[in-house]
Symmetry: C2
Subunit: 117 residues, 2 copies
DNA sequence: TCAATAATTCGAGTATTATTGAAGCATGGA
DNA sequence: TCCATGCTTCAATAATACTCGAATTATTGA
C-alpha cells in the first residue's frame, strides 16, 4: 500500500462515527448490515450515515449491495489487512532492526493461530 | 484504547506529511531526529513541520526533547502498538468468530519471532 | 395506482484543518 | 555582547470536512 493511499484510508477511519460504522460492520460479518440498521444502532440520521458510508466506500473500506429497497453494507477486510500491513511494515519498531520492541506483541499470545494465516 | 482516542490517533496519522514524519522517525529509531533534519528530509518549511509535529505530539505519537538549540523528536512505539491493538481487536475479521479470514495474515510468515514478543 | 418505506442527494451553514510568511524566543559561538 | 542558527508561534487566508433539513429516487405492498 502506498503512503498517500494509506493516509486516505486512515482519514476514512479517523472519524468517530465512521470508526463505529466500520466496527459494527466487522461485528456483523459477511451478512452485513442495512443502512437503516446502522442508523438505528449508531443513533445517526440517514443523511449523516449516507455521507459517512460514501466516504468509507470511496476509501475501499466498505462494500454495498442493493437488496430490494435495502442497501446492505459490508466491511472490506482486505483493505483493512493492507492498512495494517502498511502500518506494521512502515510505522513499527519491527521495521527498525535497531529496536528490539515491536508493535504487535500480544497477537501471538492472545489469539490462537488461524488456519488461513 | 477507547474509540474516540483511536479516532484521534488515526486522525493524527491521516495526513501525508505527518505519516511521512512518523515513518522517518521510526526509521531513525531511538536516536530520533532533529526538527531541521526532518524538514530537510521531507522538503517542508519549518513552520509547516512544527505545526504537524505539534499534532503528532498532542496525539501521543511523538516525543520531543530539547538538546541545546535542537529539538529531537522520537516516535512513540507504545502509542502505535496500542493503536494497532485497537484495530486488530475491533476492526478485524479476527474479532468476528464467524469469519475465517484475518487482518494480519503475513506477519507470522514474513517476520521472525522476536524475543520480546 | 397510491401511500409508505429505505436511502441518497443537494444546498446552506458552520467548524475544523492546512498553508503561508513574518515575527519571536532561545541557544551557541565569534 | 552580538549575530547566526534552530525552532516555534501567530495572524490571515484557503481549503476540507461535517451537519442539518428538504427534496428526490426507487421499491414494496395495499
Amino acid at each position: 500500500m502506498e503512503t498517500n493511499i494509506a493516509a486516505a484510508t486512515l482519514a476514512a477511519l479517523a472519524q468517530p462515527t465512521r470508526l463505529e460504522i466500520f466496527r459494527a460492520l466487522v461485528v456483523a460479518g459477511p451478512a452485513g448490515l442495512a443502512a437503516g440498521a446502522l442508523a438505528e444502532q449508531l443513533a445517526a440520521t440517514p443523511s449523516v450515515l449516507s455521507f459517512h458510508l460514501k466516504e468509507l466506500r470511496f476509501a475501499g473500506l466498505v462494500d454495498s449491495a442493493t437488496q430490494g429497497r435495502f442497501v446492505i453494507y459490508r466491511a472490506r477486510f482486505d483493505t483493512m489487512t493492507a492498512l495494517l500491513g502498511f502500518l506494521t511494515e512502515n510505522c513499527c519498531a519491527r521495521s527498525n532492526p535497531q529496536d528490539a520492541s515491536c508493535c504487535v506483541p500480544d497477537l501471538a499470545r492472545k489469539a490462537p493461530p488461524l488456519k488461513s494465516c
